[in-house]
């Protein structure tokens, strides 16, 4: 039946076109299908990357297209690497990345481990835990800004209720000490479920017979956790760390919505500095150099990390 339909289609196809199609090799046909994607990739990803590299050596400003563009050599890179504010922004970024990854991994793995126990209603609780991750960052940012509001915010009220400090003194977004933590809390709340999902996949991939063998050997629960669960889930945990690390290195939306980089420059992470330089101060060449430095840093660190991850997987 299928052959007959194919014959009909072949007969209905105009001869020259059919010949043309028949004349293309498999490789040629593959290229034909892939080429639109490759062209798009070149236009949207590769060309802008090379263009940014070119601009990073110039004094180009997007708001002055008529000005003569001068080649500055490595001056933009030298200026960035010698700028104290940039280093402070990098430290702030590192602080966020470290604490968010640590908290999200610990809590995410713990939640995955608990959910994996398959207690009554575990599917329901899994869905509930996943809700924050499904919300838009814009919604989450505004939602938490209200929660943190010192006069009417629920968060301030709860802290006040527990600690006895007046709610108007719980100024999460205005206080220099608390503002970084306010963002870490929100990011952890939103993205821990993501880490949990990956860890859960890791835990569920461990064959049951290994635990049965351990039971036969009378290994304690603690021993089973350290010798079976953790090592076998480790590649998955490391994968979650990689994803969250890359995401949080370029964290922008949450910081922008909650504090805008303030108070002062306390929460000004690298992406906020980059945005200010590129789209507020219009230093296009300078900000391109900064973007390239960030790209190289993330790419380099991610590569080292992936090699470590592969080693863990091969064990």
């Amino acid at each position: 039946m299928l052959n007959r339909t194919a014959d009909n289609v072949a007969r209905a196809t105009p001869e020259p076109l059919a010949k043309k199609i028949r004349g293309i090799s498999d490789k040629g046909l593959a290229w034909l299908f892939i080429s639109p994607t490759i062209l798009l990739l070149l236009a949207i990803n590769i060309f802008p990357l090379f263009w940014a590299i070119y601009l990073s050596f110039t004094n180009f400003r997007a708001n002055r297209p008529n000005e003569v563009v001068k080649n500055l050599g490595l001056a933009n890179y030298q200026r960035i690497l010698g700028d104290q504010d940039i280093w402070i922004a990098m430290q702030t970024t590192a602080h966020f990345v470290f604490w968010t990854i640590l908290l999200q991994t610990l809590i995410g793995f713990t939640l995955a481990w608990l959910i994996d126990r398959k207690f009554r209603g575990h599917a329901f609780w899994t869905t509930i835990i996943l809700v924050p991750m499904m919300l838009s960052p814009a919604v989450v940012g505004n939602f938490w800004r209200f929660l943190y509001e010192p006069q009417i915010g629920l968060f301030s009220y709860v802290i006040s209720f527990v600690s006895g400090i007046p709610p108007t003194n719980v100024q999460m977004l205005s206080n220099v000490e608390l503002a970084p933590w306010s963002i870490i809390i929100v990011d952890t709340w939103m993205w821990t479920p993501y880490v949990m999902l990956i860890c859960l996949a890791g835990l569920r991939s461990i064959p049951e017979y290994i635990y049965e063998a351990a039971e036969v050997d009378r290994a304690s629960n603690w021993r089973q956790f350290w010798s079976i669960t953790l090592p076998m889930a480790l590649p998955f945990i490391m994968l979650a760390v990689l994803f969250r690390g890359i995401e949080n290195f370029k964290m922008f939306d949450m910081v922008n919505l909650l504090t805008g980089g303030g108070p002062g420059s306390t929460t000004e992470v690298a992406s906020i500095t980059l945005k200010r330089q590129a789209f507020e101060s219009w230093r296009t060449g300078y900000s391109s150099a900064f973007a390239i430095i960030l790209f190289v840093a993330v790419f380099g660190l991610a590569n080292i990390y992936v090699k470590a991850l592969n080693k863990v997987k091969q064990r």
């Binding site: 297209p65 008529n66 108007t168 205005s174 504090t259 002062g264």
Partner: protein, 443 residues
């Protein structure tokens, strides 16, 4: 099959024809770009008269203040044709003139006998001229604006509060004329219970992202003796920007922020200020004058409950206020420049300007603001007039954006985050601004 094809063709033709008719009917429509705020709504109302008179339709592209500069500077930089007319911020004038975004209006003004002498001088310098103080005009003053203050007249007039205040400070509670008095009043009201509610001293500008804290701090710094540069040597900032007087001004602004603002007001600008005042949180409120018509009409805090005062004097008696407001320009990339110029001519008309003021816009035309009836035309009219007489503006240089970002950072780091000293902040500002002018080849 054939009939279906015919139907589809017929439908397509009908759609194409209707689109063509629509396009023809609106071929002369002008698009005016501005910020989305109350005066923009008044302008929509006002512009209906222009359409009646000329048959030229008006379309409006209004963008919230937070995205206003990003959106329209991108549009201008990319030579976009979206805006035929633009009401651009006063700081943009240098860049817009030098980069060819705006049409130079001198010949047009001469031809149509529109004289800049007919407008309030500060608005001509602030909104129209580049280079400053030269007769090169790139905009018609459109919306006069200045930072001033509103206060809770009803709270100030309570006998028990007046008595307590007099006993404590030795002078009558009323609109302050100096910054010291302003701080005393703010301290007096801070965390006071009024009608069973905790209230606070003052709402001031602290916003970090765009221009807020700069507009607020400058409002104080000018009257303390801050100067952008040596009047005899352009771009020489050392000893002027970071003078002792400037240091004291910035110190005062921080003290005012620390002592007398509502909790959590660390990122407050126009909208947040209006909210704080409208919700009855604060006794005094720093904001641009454009907010006053809306507040005057407010059921809870407007009417007899609200009063207005001019930015107070500094310790040496100097008194200045931060200029806001904008001029209206014809975009050089527009294909409808002739119609756009017609709009400018119409807008400059005396009767149109009078109606503009009555609708809630702030006219800059002398014949409107110097009319003997003007001060009594609105409760805030006199405060507006007095404020416009003492204005100063931020750098209108083509590089105003990095200059502004530097002051935003330095002021917020010190005032809100409490990092370093006021001298450190202003020394840092001199360093940043010097770098910007060096990059521009001006130093």
């Amino acid at each position: 099959m054939k009939s279906t094809l015919k139907m589809a063709l017929g439908l397509a033709s009908a759609i194409a024809a209707s689109t063509a008719v629509t396009s023809a009917a609106h071929a002369e429509d002008l698009t005016l770009c501005w910020a989305a705020w109350d005066p923009a709504n008044a302008l929509v109302e006002l512009s209906k008269d222009f359409t009646k008179e000329t048959g030229i339709g008006m379309k409006f592209e209004f963008v919230p203040w937070t995205n206003y500069a990003d959106r329209f500077l991108n549009e201008l930089n990319s030579h976009g044709k979206l805006c035929d007319l633009i009401i651009g911020d006063s700081q943009w004038i240098g860049g817009a003139a030098e980069n060819g975004h705006y049409v130079k209006l001198n010949d047009f003004f001469d031809k149509e006998k529109i004289s800049m002498d007919d407008f309030v001088p500060a608005t001509v310098v602030g909104y129209s001229e580049w280079p400053k103080n030269t007769p090169n005009y790139w905009a018609l003053p459109a919306m006069g604006d200045v930072v001033g203050w509103t206060y809770r007249k009803d709270w100030f007039s309570r006998p028990e509060l007046q008595k307590e205040f007099k006993e404590k400070y030795g002078w009558d509670l009323g609109p302050p004329t100096t910054f010291d008095q302003l701080k005393q009043i703010a301290e007096f009201f801070q965390k006071r219970q009024i009608d069973g509610k905790t209230v606070y001293g003052a709402s001031i500008y602290t916003e970090r992202g765009s221009e807020g804290i700069t507009m607020g701090a400058m409002d104080v710094l000018y009257s303390y003796g801050f100067q952008y540069e040596n009047p005899k040597k352009p771009y020489e900032m050392e000893g002027f920007v970071n003078s002792e007087k400037s240091v004291k001004g910035l110190e005062f602004y921080k003290a005012l922020y620390d002592c007398c603002t509502p909790p959590g007001a660390s990122n407050s600008y126009m909208g947040e200020g209006v909210d704080a005042f409208k919700s009855g949180q604060v006794a005094m409120h720093m904001n641009f004058a454009f907010t006053w018509p809306g507040l005057q009409k407010d059921e809870n805090v407007g009417g007899d409950k609200i009063g207005y005062f001019v930015n107070p004097k500094g310790p040496d008696g100097d008194q200045f206020a931060q200029l806001g407001g904008q001029g209206i320009s014809v975009v050089s990339y527009s294909d409808k420049q002739e119609s756009a110029l017609k709009y400018i001519k119409w807008f400059a008309n005396k009767d149109v300007q009078a109606k503009w003021w009555s609708l809630g816009g702030y006219s800059c035309l002398n014949s409107v603001v110097k009319d003997p009836k003007f001060p009594s035309s609105q409760p805030y009219a006199q405060a507006f007039l007095d404020s416009m007489a003492i204005v100063k503006d931020f750098w209108a240089e083509p590089s105003y954006a990095p200059l502004l970002q530097a002051s935003q950072k330095r002021f917020h780091d010190y005032v809100v985050a409490g990092q370093g000293s006021p001298k450190d902040a202003l020394d840092g500002l001199v360093k940043d601004w010097t770098q910007v002018f060096q990059d521009d080849g001006k130093m």
